[in-house]
């Protein structure tokens, strides 16, 4: 098929022959049933739809399927199988940084993105790193704290 694209999703190669203008967010949720990626605005403003594409944090609502040809995509479902996830999840849990949870998958992937490029970030770097992810519940303090704890306890993982 002419408009067939291939990409790696959570470690598995996938072939997609649907509409190339469709949003990655919708395709992840509807076709692949990966509903951990959330939709908060579909405008690139809230970060609830964050995924990691080729190592970079992206808003999947702003990515057309045509753009992911040849890419490697990691969603929360894939990431939650990693040791790094466990370190972050434990840290979030220890300070109760998950309230409604709607921002959480995106927030955890944003945390991963911070720590993978900077394993020992300052508080300010953490705040800037998650500033594209809105959370209406927590006031952010606990999330910032959690990322610091993960960096410390999970030392060596990143």
């Amino acid at each position: 098929m002419a408009n067939e694209i291939k990409f790696i999703l959570n470690g598995q190669e996938q072939v997609y022959d649907g509409n190339l203008a469709a949003r990655l967010l919708d395709v992840l949720r509807e076709k692949f049933n990966l509903t951990g990626t959330k939709s908060g605005c579909k405008e690139g403003e809230c970060g609830a739809c964050s995924v990691i594409i080729d190592g970079k944090l992206m808003n999947s609502c702003l990515i057309a399927m045509g753009r992911v040809d040849g890419s490697t995509i990691l969603t929360i479902e894939g990431y939650s199988e990693t040791e790094r996830f466990l370190a972050l999840s434990d840290a979030y849990e220890s300070v109760s940084a998950v309230q409604c949870g709607f921002c959480t998958p995106g927030m955890i992937l944003a945390s991963e993105s911070i720590l993978s490029s900077n394993p020992h970030p300052s508080e300010e770097e953490v705040r800037i790193g998650i500033s594209g992810n809105l959370c209406r519940c927590t006031g952010y303090n606990s999330i910032v704290k959690a990322i610091g704890i993960a960096a410390e306890k999970g030392s060596g993982l990143w």
């Binding site: 949720r29 509807e30 990966l34 509903t35 951990g36 990626t37 959330k38 939709s39 908060g40 605005c41 579909k42 405008e43 403003e45 809230c46 609830a48 969603t75 929360i76 479902e77 939650s80 996830f85 972050l88 999840s89 979030y92 849990e93 220890s94 300070v95 109760s96 940084a97 998950v98 309230q99 409604c100 949870g101 709607f102 921002c103 959480t104 998958p105 955890i108 508080e123 300010e124 953490v126 705040r127 800037i128 998650i130 500033s131 594209g132 992810n133 809105l134 959370c135 209406r136 519940c137 927590t138 006031g139 952010y140 303090n141 606990s142 999330i143 910032v144």
Partner: protein, 712 residues
């Protein structure tokens, strides 16, 4: 701190963290029809005709003619229609709904539908509205005498704006039909409100309806009344088509069509004698929007708090909620209190300034004490810890040193040429826990159940919803502690009205204080009656505490609340005089919610609410132009990000409530009451002016600076 305060992992942690938790939008969509509402595009009109495009097979139009029971959504009153009768009252008012299997096709059909209107004259200015939905008055002492005897009388008006909840998950629910029964599930703050509304609109039996909560992405009051409207609409369609129907809003629709915080005008006239406040005459006006929804109760709480935490011997309060042709206002964390507390806190600072008294000292001189009368001639039965909380916040923030320094610098000419100016402000507030007045006794009559299975696991059955605030973890802790049973033997699920008793709605900071205490009592009974190997069910009913002075709603006399939670907030700002931008460089809050049942959870509630409240003060501006909401996305309605308030410090003060579980009081709403007045006070301090509105944004700063310049 008591042992119970020690935090444990939240019950919903892992499923939310790994993305497996099922929110309503995550349910499979096969065999489910999409419903999308046809909404009014004009603020007030008679509907002459709805011209539908040709509907393909499998697509349907649903409107008022399909409502089998009564075309009313029962909220407090019943003036909100399920679908418009013959008129529309605001932009976004639902007229009908197109339902079908493919979302894109439903959207296309909706776009091609034409509505013919005869437009009528709308009212947008609440002051010009002559439709008064609610009108309340109360008095204490002799206000006329206070004015006659006063040395000085102060008068001022305060204004507060719309505020949008912006929970990350929009409103959504699904109605399932089977054999004449309707089951609703979704993002629902108050399942029994929805249940009762569906029964009324559908005209079917109570037992033929069930309503369940799914994992929820936040509520903050924004999913208190609106789900009732959506549920009736979805139920009507599901019933007619005998299929499941789902309605899930996109962000724009959610912002445009659902409730917000009431905009307000509060007028204060204050008598002062010998540097002491002797009386206040207060007029409160709330913009209710097009329908009454929750306005009576919001207004009641607003006017009861109108004199703040202060002992005002002569008081006369008048409150109205009037209609305008805008989206209905409703519940939002704080529920009417943030508006009047903002006004009274600003009023206090302005009077102090005029009298040449330090505002914190002036406030302290007037703070109510234990045993003194409340605004409604009830009593502050328990200690009022405000003085020591103020002390703590002052120390933590270095308030006096900064205040003096910033104040001085505003008086120096040289400051006016400097780019950055700083200021610090402070507020002190309360929040009454539970329903206003006798609501808990006469309206809610909460019931809870504990069910022990033969193995000895205990299931908690209440109607309270965990929207992220952590109540399921907190309830499990209370029951486990009382039964002395390991926490993993306690079962708690999201409520379904076919399984749980009606313990009332998840509102009014009542969940821990009222329902948590019922659970504690039930657990104590179960412990006493415990029989190994048997199933046992314990039911507990609400009893009104006997120490309360009965509240009379017609005169607003008596104890409006059984207990009060207290907060003191300080905020420090830096203002860029080139751009007008306001930076919050520090925020400190001391909060007394009694014994925290879980320290992390309470701190998380305080931090989250405090940040929303700071947003209400200096960021979150929503305007409606000719009845149309202009800021309907995250890019034009700005909520705080992680970099906006980097230095927030929350401290807990513990003053136990005798009738709360382990001393716990109301918590959820308290942090949203005092943030805005502290921010605005800080901006006043930085600019050397008096301010009377919230929110206050960069453009407002520039206005002040321009005026300062032209006055030399």
């Amino acid at each position: 701190m008591k042992p119970i305060s020690k935090s444990i992992p939240k019950r919903d942690h892992l499923t939310k963290a790994n993305g497996s938790a099922m929110y309503v939008c995550d349910y499979p969509t096969e065999d489910v029809l999409f419903g999308k509402l046809l909404r009014s595009g004009v603020p007030k009109a008679n509907i002459l005709n709805v011209k539908l495009p040709g509907l393909p097979e499998g697509y349907h139009y649903i409107d008022k003619n399909d409502v089998p029971g009564t075309n009313q959504v029962a909220i407090v009153l019943k003036d909100t229609p399920v679908f418009a009768e013959s008129t529309v009252e605001h932009i976004g008012d639902p007229i009908g709904m197109i339902v079908g299997p493919n979302e894109h096709e439903v959207n296309r059909l909706l776009n091609e539908t034409k509505i013919e209107y005869k437009e009528l004259e709308p009212v947008f200015d609440v002051k010009k509205s002559d439709v008064v939905f609610f009108d309340y008055n109360y008095e204490k002492g002799d206000i006329e005498k206070a004015f006659i005897e006063a040395d000085k009388i102060f008068e001022e008006e305060f204004e507060t704006g719309l505020q949008e909840h912006m929970y990350l998950e929009t409103n959504g629910l699904i109605a399932d039909y089977s054999n004449g029964k309707i089951h609703i599930h979704g993002s629902i703050q108050c399942p029994y409100f929805v249940h009762d509304a569906v029964v009324h609109a559908m005209g079917i039996k109570h037992e033929d309806v069930s309503v369940a909560q799914d994992t929820m992405g936040g509520g903050f009051g924004g999913k208190e009344d609106h789900p009732s409207v959506m549920a009736c609409q979805a139920a009507v369609a599901a019933y007619k088509l005998k299929k499941s129907v789902r309605i899930i809003y996109d962000r724009k629709e959610d912002v445009e069509a659902t409730s917000k915080r009431h905009p307000s005008f509060c007028h204060y006239k204050v008598a002062v004698k010998d540097n002491h406040i002797t009386g206040m005459q207060i007029n409160v006006l709330y913009d209710a929007g097009a329908y009454t929804t929750l306005s009576p109760v919001v207004l009641q709480r607003g006017i009861i708090g109108a004199c703040g935490i202060y002992n005002v011997p002569n008081l006369k309060v008048h409150g109205q909620a009037r209609k305008t042709n805008t989206v209905p206002s409703g519940a939002f964390r704080g529920f009417g209190a943030p508006q009047t507390f903002f006004a009274v806190e600003m009023m206090m600072t302005h009077i102090a300034k005029d009298l040449g008294i330090d505002p914190v000292e002036f406030k302290l001189k007037h703070v109510s004490k234990q045993g003194e009368l409340t605004s409604t001639s009830g009593k502050f039965h328990e200690p009022v810890p405000i003085p020591s909380m103020i002390d703590r916040v002052i120390k933590a923030s270095d308030y006096y040193k900064k205040k003096e320094k910033y104040e001085k610098s505003t008086r120096l000419k040289s400051t006016h040429t400097k780019r950055y100016r700083r200021g610090i402000g402070l507020s002190a507030v309360y929040h009454g826990g539970g329903f206003t007045g006798n609501g808990e006794r006469d309206l809610i009559k909460a019931v809870v159940k504990l069910k022990k299975d033969p193995i000895g696991n205990v299931e908690i059955l209440t109607a309270i919803t965990d929207m992220g605030q952590g109540i399921n973890t907190v309830f499990a802790k209370i029951v486990s502690q009382e039964l002395n049973l390991p926490i993993d033997r306690i079962i708690i699920n999201y409520p379904d009205t076919s399984k749980v008793p009606n313990s009332g709605p998840t509102v009014a900071s009542r969940s821990v204080m009222i329902v948590g205490e019922l659970l504690r009592k039930a657990a104590a009974k179960l412990k006493e009656d415990w029989i190994d190997g048997r199933e046992q069910i314990i039911e507990e009913h609400y009893k009104h505490p006997e120490f309360l002075i009965p509240f009379d709603l017609s005169t607003f006399y008596g104890d409006a609340y059984p207990s009060y939670s207290w907060a003191v907030n300080a905020v420090e700002v830096e203002i860029d005089t080139y751009t007008g931008c306001i930076d919050v460089i520090g925020a400190w809050g001391s909060f007394d919610v009694g014994t925290p049942i879980d320290e992390n959870i309470v701190i998380g509630q305080m931090e989250g609410g405090f940040l929303q409240s700071i947003g209400y003060g200096m960021m979150e501006k929503m305007t409606a132009v000719n009845g149309r909401i202009r800021n309907n996305t995250f890019s034009d309605y700005i909520i705080p990000t992680a970099v906006d308030v980097p230095n927030m410090h929350v401290m807990l003060h513990v003053e136990d409530y005798s009738h709360g579980p382990y001393g716990a009081k109301g918590a959820g709403e308290l942090p949203h009451v005092g943030g805005a007045p502290a921010v605005i006070d800080a901006i006043q301090n930085a600019l050397g002016v008096t301010l009377n509105k919230t929110p206050f944004l960069a453009e407002d700063v520039m206005d002040v600076l321009r005026r300062q310049k032209s006055n030399g």
